[in-house]
């Protein structure tokens, strides 16, 4: 199987630098990193990809069974790393991808040598003594929100966006295409993301880890950031002065500075 095509893999930056893999979260695709890539490209080799079911990945490779679990997404990461034969790469994961990175690093420790977790949350739904910020009903509401924007997904447009990995210019022009996802696949990703509980996986992390949280994040509140920091052995916590869940878009300078600082400190 052609993993590079399946996951719409793009490699850029300094071919002699250490490899940094940038992984998007639930919602949009690798375009989310457009303000991050320029800050890393000079010193690092940068790998971008779309999870199967997102962006311009090969939608025919999607299976509800595989992607009904974060381990299925982690396999995407490992397979991308294997396809490029990455060793000791730094994995930067946004939102749910931070947890996917933890699972991938556990599955392929020789390939991932450090983690940057951007606005991570190991569990979104409140639990005994744990506040994730959401109730199960809230998640149902999100699924309904996805549903009500169902009509925004055009079956006619989809093949144009998804079917032309060789001609990225075709999709580029289409508005909202970065976040246009097949509704059935979006629903699977949303359920897998927001119903997941990866708290127990955090303590298995054996690599240097940077936890980046936002000062005001409706999806991953600060107490969740603190929880992740406490649970990941030896991790560093940086709180960005940023509102929202996407600091790499809303506060790119601060985000890039934190990531570059962390990368520079790695051996």
């Amino acid at each position: 199987m052609d993993i590079a095509r399946r996951n719409n893999v793009a490699v850029t930056g300094n071919p002699h630098g250490r490899t940094v893999v940038l992984a998007h979260g639930f919602g949009c695709d690798q375009n989310m990193w457009r303000l991050t890539v320029p800050a890393l490209a000079e010193d690092y080799r940068v790998v971008l990809f779309d999870y199967v079911g997102s962006g311009r990945s090969d939608l025919s490779a999607f299976s509800e069974n595989r992607y009904g679990s974060l381990h299925g997404y982690a396999r995407d990461v490992v397979e991308v790393c294997e396809a490029l034969d990455l060793r000791d790469a730094v994995f930067v994961g946004h939102s749910v991808s931070a947890m996917i990175g933890v699972l991938a690093a556990e599955a392929a420790p020789e390939r991932i040598g450090a983690l940057v977790m951007v606005a991570p949350s190991p569990r979104y739904i409140d639990d005994d003594g744990y506040r994730g910020g959401f109730s199960a009903q809230d998640i149902d509401e999100l699924l309904a929100s996805l549903e009500s924007n169902y009509l925004g997904w055009s079956a006619v447009m989809a093949p144009v966006i998804m079917g032309n990995p060789d001609r990225p210019d075709l999709g580029e022009e289409l508005k909202n295409s970065f976040c246009a996802t097949d509704p059935d696949m979006a629903r699977v990703f949303a359920r897998t993301t927001f119903l997941s509980d990866s708290r127990a996986d955090l303590k298995s992390v054996r690599v240097p880890t940077l936890v980046l949280e936002c000062s005001e994040d409706a999806i991953a509140p600060r107490e969740v950031g603190a929880f992740v920091h406490r649970a990941v052995p030896g991790s560093t916590l940086v709180t960005l002065r940023a509102t929202g869940h996407c600091p790499h878009l809303s506060a790119p300078e601060a985000t890039n500075e934190a990531i570059r600082g962390f990368l520079a400190g790695l051996r």
Partner: protein, 438 residues
């Protein structure tokens, strides 16, 4: 297109020669002036849609009266105190953070996103939201301008559409499941009309093939091979009129009648005559006359010579082909045999042949010879073509002939639109190992 100065512009209000400049137009001008009194501020506050402007972090800096009215909120409680996402349901907030905000950042604008806003009393209003980022002279994003449209009617309509779509999908799934079940049942029934296995006949190889034209319809072709006594065997192959359940009932009656008749009197003409009586009695007076064509025969092996004597009779069926070891092929004529079941007493034509090692007898139904061929699928494959094709396989054992014919059937593609049954009986040449296939 530009006008030249040759003609006065008829819409120029200062043109004294304009014949349209009448009292009516003066009234219109007055109404237009009144509209101008509708200040931009008034239009903003009471526009038929909600307006709000936020800082880049979402803090609401300005909001119009229309939207405040929908929210049932006071301006003081909102401006500088709430973020745009505070107006949304939790699900909407999640959607905003994962889709809306990133897209707005990347594109500088976003339009027509379906969200719900929360009123003070907890009620929700479905809305369609569009936003643009206003930038300063240096390109730095300054604020976000957002319009909010009441989408209650539209959302209700969309929900109807979605409901309809889901119902259609469910109905389609049910129909597909029903169809699959029906096809399974038909396949089992079809299978029951054909023998599970053919008996092994010392020194004789048998091979068969059955092509079903449509998985939705029971076919009307049939065949069988069975022992008569310690030495002889009987065989038949035929084609009942029509398709579907009624044809299947006729096939069933035909098969069991021929089997029983053969045990009583294996003479081929006698067996077909019994079948004719039974079918005529059953169907002639029923208002739904049905009939079949068939070849019935017996095999009498002679272990001393290694030869096989074949006695057969045909009732309206295409003649069988005798393929000799040397590659000659000829029809075994059975002229004048009548359809089985139409007349109270029918005439059937007997024939006899002897097969030596390397010879094969081929029985087939007219699905094969009536397959449509040619680029426009208008000509029939025909008897002569079949004879020539068969001759090309002289000396090969029955299973090889059936395999070649199966390939021929496949090559017809959609030109083969009828069921086809094939039965080959032969004595393999000494240099071919014997096998029985179907």
């Amino acid at each position: 297109m530009c006008r030249t100065g040759q003609q006065p512009d008829p819409h120029d209000p200062y043109d004294p020669h304009d014949p349209h400049d009448t009292g009516d137009d003066k009234a219109a001008d007055a109404a237009f002036a009144a509209l101008l009194e509708d200040s931009a501020e008034e239009l903003y506050e009471n526009a038929p849609c909600g307006y709000l402007s936020t800082l880049m972090d979402g803090t609401i800096a300005k909001i119009n009266a229309t939207l405040l009215g929908w929210l049932d909120m006071e301006r003081e409680a909102v401006v500088g105190r709430m973020r745009f996402t505070d107006l949304l349901t939790v699900g909407g907030k999640l959607y905003h953070e994962t889709h809306f905000a990133p897209l707005l950042r990347m594109q500088g604008e976003i339009s027509g996103i379906a969200l719900e806003i929360k009123r003070t009393d907890g009620d929700r209003i479905p809305v369609l939201v569009s936003s643009v980022v206003k930038r300063g002279g240096d390109g730095e994003p300054l604020l976000i301008r957002t319009t909010v449209f009441d989408a209650r009617d539209r959302r209700a309509y969309e929900e109807e559409l979605l409901r309809g779509r889901r119902a259609a999908e469910a109905a389609r799934g049910q129909a597909e499941a029903d169809r699959a079940r029906l096809q399974d049942a038909l396949a089992v029934l079809q299978q029951s009309l054909l023998p599970d296995t053919l008996p092994s006949i010392p020194g004789v190889e048998t091979a068969t093939h059955y092509h079903t034209a449509s998985p939705d319809r029971l076919g009307g072709d049939f065949y069988d091979v069975f022992p008569l006594d310690g030495r002889r065997f009987a065989f038949f192959l035929g084609d009942v009129c029509g398709k579907g359940p009624k044809a299947a009932a006729l096939t069933s009656l035909t098969r069991y009648t021929l089997r029983a008749a053969a045990l009583h009197d294996p003479d081929p003409v006698a067996a077909l005559t019994t079948l004719n009586k039974v079918l005529h009695e059953r169907y002639a007076g029923s208002g739904d006359p049905r009939y079949c064509t068939a070849v019935f025969g017996t095999l009498d092996p002679d272990p001393a010579t290694g030869q096989l004597t074949v006695h057969l009779a045909s009732g309206g069926h295409p003649p069988v082909i005798v393929l000799r070891a040397d590659g000659t092929a000829c029809f075994l004529p059975t002229p004048g045999g009548q359809l089985v079941g139409v007349l109270p007493s029918a005439r059937f034509t007997p024939a006899t042949t002897v097969l030596a090692p390397g010879d094969t007898l081929l029985l087939y139904t007219d699905g094969l010879t009536e397959a449509r061929t040619g680029p426009d699928r208008t000509s029939l494959y025909g008897d002569e073509a079949l004879l020539a094709f068969t001759a090309g396989h002289g000396g090969k054992p029955p299973h090889a002939l059936i395999k070649a014919l199966t390939g021929l059937l496949d090559s017809f593609g959609d030109g083969l639109d009828d069921d086809t049954a094939l039965l080959a009986l032969g004595i393999p040449a000494a240099d071919h190992p014997m096998r029985n296939t179907r």
